[in-house]
């Protein structure tokens, strides 16, 4: 039974934290899921009513953000990854570090490099989300996290393809970058970093398209 989730919260900070809690608890057994959600809902309510004023939203959000690593560790303890042997976890973590280093190397190479790095990181995140999604005894995933992971991979492919095309077909490439950025920005919006990266990427693509249109117009004018 859930009571806490039915009680509305008032502040935007609480709504962001509640959304994040719903996301990282999705796919867990009902009892575990609702216990966590109810406990955080109670905390958010107490916080809002204890400290009224304009600072409540940012303070609640800060508490939520600072707890994200602990939330992810808590979630990971309940995922398939936790049942992997030690060498499996080491391999996954090693691959993560390798991909991150590759991403940083590519990121030093301008907009196409930035889009590629973002595509690699978002795609890898999608793979990790799918790999850690809970499953039943027959190995069938029982969570909408698989859908989330798949969407992140689609976003990564779209952004990566757009980054490749942007130098040759600026409009098409730019549109793909904007589309992919919108997609992963939407799915990663509670992480704050995700939407900021998405906005940055989309904005740079818009500027690129605008520059291409201006230079195209200048060439036509000269003709």
């Amino acid at each position: 039974m859930t009571v806490g989730t039915a009680t509305a919260t008032r502040h935007w900070g609480s709504r962001v934290v509640a959304f994040w809690v719903r996301r990282y608890t999705s796919g867990l057994p009902e009892a575990v899921r609702y216990e966590r959600r109810d406990e955080i809902a109670s905390d958010l309510w107490e916080h809002e009513h204890d400290l009224d004023g304009s600072s409540v939203g940012p303070e609640i959000l800060a508490r939520g953000l600072l707890g994200v690593p602990a939330d992810l560790a808590w979630r990971l303890e309940r995922s398939r990854l936790a049942r992997m042997p030690g060498w499996g976890v080491t391999t996954v973590l090693g691959l993560l570090a390798r991909f991150e280093a590759t991403g940083r190397w590519i990121a030093r190479r301008g907009l196409p490099g930035f889009t590629s790095a973002t595509a690699v990181i978002v795609g890898l995140l999608g793979v990790v989300v799918i790999a850690t999604a809970p499953s039943n005894d027959s190995g069938t995933p029982t969570s909408d996290l698989v859908f989330w992971g798949a969407m992140l991979i689609v976003a990564a492919v779209t952004v990566g393809l757009g980054g490749r095309l942007i130098n040759v077909h600026t409009r098409l490439g730019g549109a793909l970058v904007i589309l992919g950025s919108g997609l992963f920005g939407l799915f990663l919006w509670p992480t704050i970093v995700g939407p900021i990266a998405a906005l940055g990427l989309a904005w740079r693509a818009v500027l690129r398209i605008r520059d291409a249109r201006r230079s195209g117009a200048a060439v036509r004018h000269l003709d």
């Binding site: 039974m1 009571v3 806490g4 989730t5 039915a6 009680t7 934290v17 809690v21 216990e35 966590r36 109810d38 406990e39 955080i40 809902a41 109670s42 905390d43 309510w45 107490e46 916080h47 009513h49 204890d50 303070e59 800060a62 508490r63 939520g64 953000l65 600072l66 707890g67 994200v68 690593p69 602990a70 939330d71 560790a73 808590w74």
Partner: protein, 118 residues
């Protein structure tokens, strides 16, 4: 990294200390936010303990038998117009673990300063 059995993390010590101190003030049970608030005031911190850290630590302490918990009667919460609270109590084992940690800290401090405990 695994820690030695019987050792408590700083956040766990803070929670147990908050629970013991609240009980001495007449609050036998506490909820997560109450503990976070108490810890912030006691340690003069700027921010409350984050949700993730706080509730993960509370769960660990509960699993170790250092805290017990139960959900508040939903009718009480409904009457008050708020979500129901999960209420925690420090067990005898929790109070002993806190005391043992404090004794160890005192011994370590006196050992490092070259003094013998009285």
């Amino acid at each position: 990294m695994r820690r030695k059995p019987g050792t408590l993390l700083p956040i766990e010590i803070s929670i147990l200390a908050a629970g013991v101190e609240l009980r001495s003030q007449g609050e036998a049970e506490f909820h997560g936010y109450r503990a976070a608030h108490f810890i912030r005031d006691r340690e003069e911190a700027r921010l409350l303990t984050s949700h993730g850290t706080l509730y993960k630590a509370l769960e660990r302490l509960r699993k170790q038998g250092l805290l017990t918990s139960h959900w508040e009667d939903p009718t009480i919460a409904a009457d008050a117009g708020r979500p129901r609270r999960r209420l925690y109590t420090v067990t005898a084992a929790g109070a002993s673990a806190l005391e043992a940690t404090r004794v160890n800290e005192v011994q370590r401090e006196s050992g490092s300063s070259g003094l013998q405990p009285a």
